[in-house]
Amino acid sequence: MACFNPVPKLYRSVIEDVIEGVRNLFAEEGIEEQVLKDLKQLWETKVLQSKATEDFFRNSIQSPLFTLQLPHSLHQTLQSATASLVIPAGRTLPSFTTAELGTSNSSANFTFPGYPIHVPAGVTLQTVSGHLYKVNVPIMVTQTSGRAGILQHPIQQVFQQLGQPSVIQTSVPQLNPCCLQATTEKSQRIETVLQQPTVLPSGPVDRKHLENATSDILVSPGNEHKIMPEALLRHQESSQYVNLPGVVFSPQVSQTNPNVESVLSGSASMTQNLHDESLSTSPHGALHQHVTDIQLHILKNGMYGCESVKQPRNTEEPSNIPVSEKDSNSRVDLSIRVTDDDTGEIIQVDGTGDTSSNEEIGSARDVDENEFLGVIDAGDLKVLEEEADSISNEDSATNSSDNEDPQVDIVEEDPLNSGDDVSEQDVPDLFDTDNVIVCQYDKIHRSKNKWKFYLKDGVMCFGGRDYVFAKAIGDAEW
């Protein structure tokens, strides 16, 4: 697949190289390894969500994420609590029953290849990162329909354990084998929170997969526990998705990181039921990371789009710098806007109230006032000149025709040289485009108006999608 699209692999290798390269730097600065992991996570998430690469993490198996997708008929499945892991054909995974898990403290490893897996109730799962989660509700994990090998809707179950509140996270959706270590534990309170932390690139393709994907998380109605998982996957108003009554979050989380709470509150239809009893105490060492990840992923959740969700995040940022920057920018924008309005009013007043016989004066004035936009037509400039001429002519003599004093016009135009400047689409707008190529040039050749480009080592971005080239040869006519 690398030959078809080398970009994901290249990006991944660059990220790895950079992270490894700065590992010593971080160590020298006395910064924790966790921060470096955070950086990597953030970076990968952003690249993934930028839709620059379609299959960014297609073949990666490094992420410990356990992604869940629920089938359409999940509620039916949940009704009948099965006690075994259902492994799809073609994959050999160990299966174990709830009974086995409940009675023994043994741990069983199983990999999640992205195919449907049914997780029975009562199973405690532990991700590779070490967090323990107990499944209160039997969950069936299915593979997303659509693009093979790509996990569209990573969903993480947030479980709470007494004494160890931990939040799940992270992000990078992984298709292929995730390892989960299932351990059995007994806990008095079982709280299951299901959410969709990560987000896939919010392009239309992904949304389509969202529609097709079985991402409902349903809780068996007979669940006596208060906490009900709620499907956060609600990008689309698809009937496939079912709203679950409540989401439980540990107040621990909220205390330690208000960002998560605010983000979650900003997300769709999420109600938080905080259960004091089940909350526990010391935040996990990795809590921050996870919370940040949740924050990030939920932020990128396509449910409400990026903008709306970002608001709470920014407001919750400790330094509040982005908010202030935003405000200042908005203020600046407003000020500019006011100026525009002022000039606009002036323009319109002049234009509508203009009593000049020359009809073009109004439009010319408009152009003149809007000069800062950088759009000036040569024709309008000429009109301006003619206007000035006509006014002067009116003052001096009757203005019967424009041809009365052609020589005078010419004489008056020349000093201004206004006709010489022709810029149809001036610089600010011209260079503003989404399609950019950043590269190096070997040679740029021109013959009359025929240009030849010999470029190398370039990264192209067309409409958000990235491409790379070692060499590029081009022709263009100016």
Partner: protein, 108 residues
Amino acid sequence: MAYQLYRNTTLGNSLQESLDELIQSQQITPQLALQVLLQFDKAINSALAQRVRNRVNFRGSLNTYRFCDNVWTFVLNDVEFREVTELIKVDKVKIVACDGKKILYNTT
């Protein structure tokens, strides 16, 4: 020293955003972030030079050209990019190209 040219790419921008977030949460210092970016410059330059092997041809009409500080900036219209596997058409593209010859001095 490598060109900082590639910081304005998806990969580079996402790295800068991530670093900004860490700086805002005061997990890293701006100086460290700068070091990371320098490392990124090296890595991306090296990766493009060594790990990428494909060729692209393109044709279009040149709208503007600019050469300043040894950097070419072009704006082309109605361009077709042709690779072995695919054809991409864009109505407007901006090309920023630094000198590909050996770098003796580089601004940092």
